[in-house]
Amino acid sequence: MNLEAVIFYLFALIIVASGGLVVLSKNIMHAAFALMFTLFGLAGFYAMLLSDFLAVSQIMIYVGGILVLIIFGVMLTSKITGVELKTGPIGKVNYLFGAAISVIIACGLSLLFTNSKWIEKPVDKIPDSSINAIGYSLLTEYILVFEVAAVLLLIALIGAALIAHKDQIIDSDASSNEISTNNDIKIKE
């Protein structure tokens, strides 16, 4: 039992406990904030696996970006104050079904992982930082993927703005009629 093991089990405990909270919590807000601890635990794992750049990216993108987005989503889709934020599972049968499937998957994957003979090549020399290597290969070997990812992000940005836009750009007749009648009523009032 060395220091690394202790830290590993600490992070594993954080990940599993908070992940369980995400999955089982009835309050969506609690689930969202539990997800934060899961992501932090994973960042800790990445740092232990000597990829510090990924660890910090995890914190930056997941915690600072996606999680905030999710929390805003929660706030926008539930009327925030005065309304129950609780949500239940779909049904008891479904609950049992899901539990069974996930237990089977967990056990199966674990068995698979423990029984496989992985080619294990521990890194002999601990690199100073993985950031130089990542930057180099991103702009040489993976330049196409890099550009595609950039375009993907742009498309996602535009698409998200378009989908969530309140006034639909392509109006059907019915909806436009509805809007106009609403306006009329407002004016009359």
Partner: protein
């Protein structure tokens, strides 16, 4: 006991199973999205564990980086869809959303 590849892989398996569980059982679309994030993170953990122990080196890390990028794009689009659903149905329960168009 020395911490090796298998330990990380088992944690990732547990995370993956939890994500599946959330996707199957939860009613709220945002919680389903959170389950999806868990699954993506499990995959990421695998990539990085292999990068460290399996000789995947930088390639593993770059794959993980792209997974993170795609997760960001995916969650943005998914949330905008969820917002749209909310505007039409005034709830985001995935089992009650039955029609694609009014």
């Amino acid at each position: 006991m020395e911490i090796g590849l298998t330990h990380y892989l088992i944690v990732s398996a547990i995370l993956f199973a939890m994500g599946i569980f959330a996707i199957i059982t939860r009613k709220n679309a945002i919680l389903v999205l959170m389950g999806l994030e868990l699954i993506l993170n499990a995959a990421n953990l695998n990539f990085i564990a292999f990068a460290r122990y399996g000789g995947l080196n930088v390639n593993g890390e770059i794959a993980a980086l792209f997974v993170i990028i795609i997760a960001a794009a995916e969650s943005a689009v998914a949330l905008s869809i969820i917002l749209n659903i909310y505007q039409n149905y005034h709830h985001v329960n995935v089992d009650e959303v039955e029609t694609l168009k009014d």
